[in-house]
Amino acid sequence: MLTIGGKTFDSRLLLGTAQYPAPSVLMQAITQSQTQIITVSLRRQMLQQQPSDFWQLLQGLPCQLLPNTAGCLSAQEAITTAQMARELFDTNWIKLEVIGDDYSLQPNVFELVKAAEVLVQDSFTVLPYCTEDLVVCQALVDCGCSVLMPWGAPIGTGRGLQNPYALAQLVDRFTDTILIIDAGLGKPSHAAQAMELGFDGVLLNTAVAGAIDPVRMAQAFALAVQSGRLGYEAGLVAPSEQARASTPFIDKPFWHTQRM
């Protein structure tokens, strides 16, 4: 079970809601993924615009909403966005993103920690989108974050885990923190790899929404996350430099027979 903010979840797959070809596809992907946590955002509402279909769609979903501060460039922007999200979505959960570079969409870790500190003090359940930098992660934990969401690779690149060594170090170091890989996953095997490393969950959007068949891909990721977690819990065989025969040599026929 995954426990965040005092709530428990069977699914360890968190799903984004952006870029699906149609609302019906989004709904089917949510069902097939078996996700229980979905990300949403806040954007400007134009003059006299009617409540969107998306708002209506959200009302009927049995999912925990995780609003994001996507696109925020400063701690203050992120803090204000989080406060607006709390009122609008009636949740104190926030996926905290403060972006530092337009090309890589890499977090501005300095502003991220500033915003996290303020929001934790304001009783938010903060899920910070960060890098695999150990020192940054420690700073986020020190200011009260009980969840860390390091990237696998830049958002939307589908490149998988670019630095599994550093990510494995986070698993070793932050044993009391929920660790979720967020961003950059592309294949179900990437999600399985993250779970095999010991991560508590994965969050992805483009890998499902951008697939040829998002609904089937959602199912694939659900299975990959379950498989990876099961493998981790079962205890993985450690890699070896030396070959080790799996079939014993004892009583092998032709043993010690002279070669003609």
């Binding site: 952006a18 990300t39 806040l42 954007r43 400007r44 509402q45 409540p51 998306f54 607006m84 009122e87």
Partner: protein, 66 residues
Amino acid sequence: MITMYLNGKMITTHSTTLAALVKQLGYRQATFAAAVNEQFIPREHYTQTPIKDQDRVEIVTAMQGG
């Protein structure tokens, strides 16, 4: 009449409070949230939040996101 910015666009209005502005612009249902000059304004404070010349108001609603 004042000049202010709504969602980044310059507009003119006679409204002097956020509540009046929201009503004037036709936002009727509680499907949005607001900020004035980069500060979040809780819904219950709209009537006592003044809108002044050159103020920047953001009105946001739910949207898909990753």
